[in-house]
Subunit: 139 residues, 3 copies
Amino acid sequence: MWHQTEIRLAARSRGFHLITDEVVAGVAALGECEIGLLHLQLLHTSASLTLNENADPDVRHDMDAFIRRLVPGDLPYFRHTLEGPDDMPAHVAASLFGTQLTLAVRGGRLATGTWQGIWLGEHRDHGGPRRLIATLNGA
Amino acid sequence: MWHQTEIRLAARSRGFHLITDEVVAGVAALGECEIGLLHLQLLHTSASLTLNENADPDVRHDMDAFIRRLVPGDLPYFRHTLEGPDDMPAHVAASLFGTQLTLAVRGGRLATGTWQGIWLGEHRDHGGPRRLIATLNGA
Amino acid sequence: MWHQTEIRLAARSRGFHLITDEVVAGVAALGECEIGLLHLQLLHTSASLTLNENADPDVRHDMDAFIRRLVPGDLPYFRHTLEGPDDMPAHVAASLFGTQLTLAVRGGRLATGTWQGIWLGEHRDHGGPRRLIATLNGA
């Protein structure tokens, strides 16, 4: 079975956000998939997808605090500055965390660990709504 | 063909470890797959999976030395500190390196390059055994 | 349908390079795939693959400028130095950006966003030609 759908994520503030429920709700065929893989791909280059802790929101805060300091907006050698000081750091974060993710599916559900959730990394100050393509392949 | 299995990795010390042989041994159906993909997903948020050099162990040492300095445990803005100073750095490393990996399969074997091996990044001081889901899809 | 092919990328200078057209040209069966996934895996441990902006070349410049400063070649704790000061930084960059990528396919084309392109990260001074395995799976 192959299913492909586009999911629209509402605009979010800069930082990391748990989107597992939105993704699962957006992939209607997930429940019929006994064994398979769900591939998620953001259609953007200044946001990211990653798997990390689904419990304490401080983990999401700290991840964002870390990446903001790792890639500040005022690096003197940055040339791509026309779109604002948050843009080039967002491109770097998108490539460090990645913009696509493949997840195991088992028994009609994501086979994630107890503490794993899907995070959207919004790396722009005003990134707006984000779109992703979800592709489900399985048996 | 679809095969899915869970592989249990023995507890390891903090650092990077070559696990190619353990993964291959854990995926019994690999030899029957002429062309396909093997997906690996850790069920944890403080360890990582990455492809890198399978020869000189110094590469694994240096990678760990680098990430320990990049994300030290005593960053003053970290809030998620209750689980110890190695925990939040482990979450960051897990997202920077990633916790899932998809590998090409050809002729019943991983189609990795001569120098490529699968690494487990153990980012906790005492992470304990780690579990991963291996999903093989192919023809 | 399953198709697997090896693509040879010409030698490039250190930095990030847009390779979308080369990849698409190298996967002849892409046009016949209505819905599917294209998996790309470099066979090297000192170069990387990532999705990022396909327009302004300054984004590629800035990404490289950033990673060169993040992982310089003269870190005193690096032990893997025999292959030159650009080698260990290249291994680190390969794992931070990743060496494999899975891309959604829709209607015979990559389902990438308007601004997304496939980048090769060449992290060595003289990396030479690079090989990748492209695996297309779809319906």
